[in-house]
Each structure stands twice: as structure tokens, then as C-alpha cells.
Amino acid sequence: MKKIVNNPEYVVRDMLEGLIAAHPDSLKQIPETTVVASKDAPLQNKVGIVSGGGSGHEPAHAGYIGDGMLDAAVCGEMFTSPTPDQVFEGIKAADGGAGVFLVIKNYTGDVMNFDMAAELAEAEGIEVEKIVVNDDVAVEDSSFTTGRRGIAGTIFVHKIAGAKAAAGGSLQEVKNIAEKVTANVRSMGVALTPCTVPAAGKPSFVLEDDEMEIGIGIHGEPGIERKRVTSADEIAEELTNKVLEDIEFNTGDDVALIVNGMGATPEMELYILNKKVNEILLERGLNIHKTFVGNYMTSLEMSGCSVTLLKLDEEMKPLLDAESSAPAFRI
């Protein structure tokens, strides 16, 4: 394992110190916690937006803290949900009296820990609502699984729920729009190489030199198929078509697109992919309202990418376009 780390057990702590040092004007760490919050938080009478999850997905989630997006992010250990007490600290940091909204990715641990934190907050009289994001079309959504995973589509939920809260939306209104985004966002990813959790010291799975895993999860969870690496155009087709099949898109629909890097894929390759994704969407008669290309929801040094599509309507569009000062999502 070759990594720029000190003690592997302290990677999260060390990263957080470095993160705050890089953004001293906009971010603060809540003392004795792994909670990062906006320097101004809590804003009185604004619904607080809190997200979080395991670390290793940077810039998710702390990079999305800013005006018009998140108020606080709770950073768990590597790929491990933060604990209820930490999430509770995040809720308190974001609570300006109008309630707090939790954005949770659909993983068993995250859902349980955030639920327990919400119970703690409610016991202290803080009103809490939540959304569980499940945009990954690679896995079956049935009663025989835990349901679909939350991946890069979560960024659109942060952005649009955050904009609604910034515009003075009530807790219920923020929840309604977050549900709408979640219902209309779908993603799918692929991995070319695995990643190594520092404390584990070895890759989480093995891919041969000429292999890729379609439908990979952001922690290296297996996808749906392992096959020979194909061209960028073929990868774009496979991911985009699977996403397009999953919800009804009609000619003329406005969509927002994220072509997301998993950590080690050069931007050049992401743009090559985006070229074909664009062609496919235009051929389908869709109107691409906004495109984001870059590393938004990563999996350490995994190479690979994911494609996220959000079907927009007149309510979501201005909220997506609204200003955001978050370092990883400046609009």
C-alpha cells in the first residue's frame, strides 16, 4: 500500500484538520467531534441541512457545506457511518430553531445511526426530518435487498434541498422537494481498479488488468457484471442507457447531469465519457440544462466513474441554478 498518510488510524482526524486549515473563512470543526459546519451555522430561523456518512468519498460531504447547500457534515471513519452521538452534534450545530433536515444515503449503517441521532434530537426538542437517497440503479430495489444504494445523485439532493432552505422554505417544504429530487434522480457507476482502505492495507476486491465491474458501489461493493474493459463510448452507453431505462424520460424533458469520477480517473477521461453521454441524451430528445463533470462522490483511489441524471421540473430548476458557496459545488 502506497499512500500519503501518517498513522492509518488517524486519517479522518488528520484530514479534518487539513480541511479546516484550507477553508478557515467558511468552515469550522465542532470541538471534540468529527462534525464540520459552516462558520455561520446555525442560521436563525433557517432549516439546517445536515448530511454525512463514512469518509473516503471526498469532497463528499464536507465540501458541500456553504450558503445554499449544507450547514453541517458529519464525517465517519473510513467508509463507516458516523455514530449517533456525532450525528446528534451535527444536528445541534445546524439547528437555528426552524428544524433540521437530514440527507442520508441508503446504507444500513447510515440509516440506523442517523435514525438514532434523530431520536436523540427529538428528545431534546429539535424537529428533525430526513430523506434516504437511493439513486443507484445497479442494484435491485426489492424487499429482498436493503434497497438501492445512495451514490452521486445525493449531491443534487444537497443542492436543491439546500437552496430551498436558503430561500426560506419550511422543514416540510424542504422535505417535499428532497423527496421530489430523490424520486427523479438515478445513477450508475463502473470501476476499473479497486481502492484500499488505509487501515485495511489491501484492496477491497480484485479486478484483473483487463476487467471492469459494472454497477460498482462507492465502497467497492460488487456490481452486476464483471467484464472486459470496453471503449469510453461503450461504457457511456451502458451506464446511460441503464439510467434512462429506469424512469420515464420524455422528449423535451430538462435534465441535469453529473459525470462523476471515482477518485483516480483523470478529468480527461471523464470529458471523453461526457462527450458520448451528451450525444445519447440529445438523441433521446432531452434538453441538458446543466452538466457537472468532476470528482463529486469518490471512493478513495478507485478509478472509474458514474453517470447521474436528474429529471428537472420548473420547481427544481431555479433551485439547482441558485447560488451556492460550497467549495466543491460553487454556482
Partner: protein, 205 residues
């Protein structure tokens, strides 16, 4: 036989030793069906439990279990933190103001199991730690005192059986049929918990 607060500390120390020496094993089991953090998280959590228990003097079994639960809840993370935290918290609450004799302790474990099902929204047969806790408790009901060998064997057999189950809960559920043939990591760590309990009973005071 009746468990004392000192026994609880011994139980947790023995559990910790097993988790620490099988940390890589748990992690590689989890890499096969999940996200590969189970060994790391459990090792971190139980290490802290032992530190906490050694630093404190306990009057009651319930108090020692409560600190165990709260430490696991705040130090483990992932799915295992809330699950093990809930299990030990329910056991603690159930034993509050009571002696930890066989009947009370068994009732407490039943509360733990109910807590695991509620927190994990899960049942038997879904390839989770419930598939160790449930058969162990069922078997204990057939006895009227602590039986170390029964405990060890039931937990061990139940853990082995998770290999044949298709996961329908937790991250392994995404594998569907491909989860068959792998041990459930949570069931393996639960086996260590019960094996450590059995050894505590064997060791007497």
C-alpha cells in the same frame, strides 16, 4: 449461577481478545460480502469498551452493560455500532435492579434480540447476526442454568449455518445468490461474543 459485574468485565475482555486476534479475519469476511470494515470497527469499539470498564468500578451488572452499550454505540459506527449498542443496552435495561441469574439474564437476552430485530428491521433467516442470537436464546430456554458448552456449540453451529443463507438484509443483500457460501461477518463477531460468555461461565469467578 449468577453473573456479577466482574463477570461482565471478564466477558468483554475475552470478547475483545477474540475480536482483536480475528480483526483481519472479520475484515476479509466483510470484504467478500460487504464493505470490509467490520473487523476494524469492532476492534476499535471493543478496545474502547475494555478501557472504559477497567477505568470504572461497577456496583451492578446493569451499569457495566450500559457503559458497554454506550461505548459501542459511539465508537463502532457502521451498522454494527447501533446493533451491538442496542443489544447490550436492552440487556442492561432489562437487568436494572435485578440480579443476573439465569432467568433474568435470559429474559434480558430476549429483549436484546427484540431490539436487534427492531433496530435492523430484520428477522431470522436474512443472514444477519440475528441468525446467531436467536438460536442461542432458543437453545438457552431449554436449559435452567448457564451451560458453557451448549452456548459455544449452538453459537458455533449457527454461525456456520449463515454460510448457506442468502442475504436479504444489509449490504450483502446486493449480492443476492452470490452471498451464499460466505459466512456473515456479524454472525462471526456474535459467535465471539457468545464464546467469550461461555468461557466466562467456565472460568467461574
Amino acid at each position: 449461577m449468577e453473573l456479577t459485574a466482574h463477570d461482565i468485565i471478564t466477558w468483554m475482555k475475552k470478547t475483545n481478545e477474540k475480536i482483536q486476534s480475528n480483526k483481519e479475519h472479520l475484515t476479509s469476511l466483510d470484504q467478500a460480502v460487504g464493505d470490509g470494515d467490520h473487523g476494524i470497527n469492532m476492534a476499535r469499539g471493543f478496545k474502547e469498551v475494555v478501557v472504559k470498564l477497567e477505568d470504572t468500578s461497577y456496583e451492578s451488572v446493569s451499569d457495566a452493560l450500559k457503559d458497554t452499550a454506550m461505548t459501542l454505540m459511539s465508537k463502532v459506527g457502521g451498522a454494527a455500532g447501533p446493533l451491538y449498542g442496542t443489544a447490550f443496552l436492552k440487556l442492561s435495561t432489562s437487568l436494572k435492579g435485578k440480579s443476573a441469574d439465569y432467568t433474568h439474564f435470559l429474559n434480558g437476552l430476549e429483549e436484546s434480540l427484540a431490539g436487534l430485530k427492531q433496530r435492523g428491521k430484520s428477522q431470522e433467516g436474512e443472514k444477519t447476526l440475528i441468525d446467531v442470537w436467536s438460536p442461542v436464546i432458543e437453545k438457552m430456554k431449554e436449559s435452567d442454568d448457564f451451560d458453557a458448552s451448549l452456548l459455544k456449540h449452538t453459537a458455533g453451529d449457527s454461525m456456520e449455518k449463515t454460510k448457506d443463507i442468502k442475504a436479504t438484509k444489509g449490504r450483502a443483500s446486493y449480492l443476492g445468490d452470490r452471498s451464499i457460501g460466505h459466512l456473515d461477518p456479524g454472525s462471526v463477531s456474535s459467535f465471539y461474543v457468545f464464546e467469550a460468555l461461555a468461557e466466562t461461565i467456565e472460568g467461574g469467578r
